[in-house]
């Protein structure tokens, strides 16, 4: 029979969230293979995962830093980092005040937010034409 003081009260979340990391790495591996197979993009929202502070740190350590570290200045600042595993990207979106909006891990060749959109290029073309015309 268990006595009362032997019944543990578990309040720490870090052990559980550390166990999340291997599961996430396997999910990312599947996603990477999926992208190689048929070009399927995959996206994880870190806010929806029961990752504690320690778990998040462990995931960041495991994925490491790759070759690209880009800053996107829209609606505040966004940072797009490629991890040490090519094709896995770590996106951090902040608002105008630097507060975190969301963090995502994307599996793709190029995150959508980096790509220049055709509509935006058309608008740029028009603006440039206007500028060129005004300088003539």
């Amino acid at each position: 029979m268990v006595t009362l003081d032997q019944i543990a009260i578990v309040v720490e979340e870090d052990d559980a969230s550390n166990r999340m990391v291997p599961a996430l790495l396997r999910e990312l591996l599947d996603a990477l293979d999926g992208f190689l197979r048929d070009g399927t993009r995959h996206c994880l929202d870190l806010a929806t995962l029961p990752l504690g502070h320690a778990g998040r740190h462990a995931l960041e350590e495991a994925l490491g830093q790759g070759e690209i570290d880009a800053r996107v200045s829209v609606l505040g600042s966004s940072r797009v980092r490629e991890t040490a595993f090519t094709g896995i990207w770590w996106l951090r979106h902040e608002d105008d005040n630097g507060a975190l909006l969301c963090e995502q891990i994307e599996v793709t060749d190029l995150p959508e937010i980096l790509r220049a959109d055709r509509g935006d290029i058309e608008a740029a073309s028009a603006r440039l034409a206007a500028l060129a015309a005004s300088l003539n």
């Binding site: 009260i9 309040v11 995959h42 996206c43 994880l44 929202d45 806010a47 929806t48 996107v72 829209v74 609606l75 966004s78 996106l91 979106h93 608002d95 005040n97 507060a99 975190l100 909006l101 969301c102 995502q104 959508e112 937010i113 959109d117 509509g119 935006d120 608008a123």
Partner: protein, 369 residues
Amino acid sequence: MSEPSPAVDEPTVLESFQQNGFSRRTFLKFCAATASLLALPAAEAAVLAENLATKPRPTVIYLSFQECTGCLESLTRSFSPTLEHLIFNVVSLAYNDTLQAAAGESAEAAREDAMRKAWGKYVLVVDGAIPRPLDGAYCVVGGKSALASLQHVAEGAAAVIAVGTCAAFGGLPLANPNPTGAVAVQDLVRDKPVINLSGCPPIPEIITGSVVYLLSFGVPELDEHRRPKVFFGNTIHDRCYRRPFYDKGLFATSFDDEGARNGWCLYELGCKGPTTYNSCATMKWNGGTSFPIESGHGCLGCSEPGFWDRGDFYHPLSTGRWGSGMGEKLAVAAVAGAVLGGAAAVAGRQRQKARNDASTQHPDHPEAK
């Protein structure tokens, strides 16, 4: 009907972003932040972006009745999506008497015009309760009662969003003694989907997030009080960072004791977190700064129906609600019990005596001989 449809000739949300000089990147970040706010799974997040890129902006009419404008104050402090993006890019805000530049007859005319153009398709947002007696005479705006306005505008709406506890449940106007006979939107609008976003005020991101969700996916899954489960699916208590102290049995017993300074659970001080469904503990307020419990005060339960009238802001949830005089009542009960008990004993003695008397007179009894 499950989702609002576009007003005529409205651009899509993406086109609206681009027309207003924002890049598609801005749109994508907006979608990512909103999807995260709504806790959408990856697949639905992609659908959200796709829907917002292809669906025209809906017309929104925002009516204010018996309210304090606190809900709108809250909405203006939405960090993501911001109110600016919401009203300039995501929706076409045709009427809001506080935010709009137009006033008086021209404002009312613009509302009628927008309603005619998008009849059956616009989203109606209501802020405040509606008094029902005397044909709604207790609340009249522009010569028209709140009751009549709501009934008229709701008739052509695709969906109605009740913003704040007053609109959702009657709130302060409905509180005892309810002098104006106020009722909630859902008591009057019966044939349209009503989405309640309760709170006094509601968390701003819950308002903006719900509007975006409605536009993209239609009416979200609702709880028994018609609140979106994504925001009202958990109690404050279940997501509270002080919950471990509750589980360990560590409580603040006054607002300035050691427990309060150590940030222990506020249950004993009357916190209503256990019975209150809202997202304060996770989304927090003012761009994630804090929420009431983080500031040292228990939850009042402002997003629950009837919270004003419970009168127990500072009484623990597990105590009875009987006002004063309970001790006297129980004392009277004890005296009544004693009288009944005494009477029962006397009756018992008399019965026994009668039995004894009868048996002594019996011919077989030795004493009778």
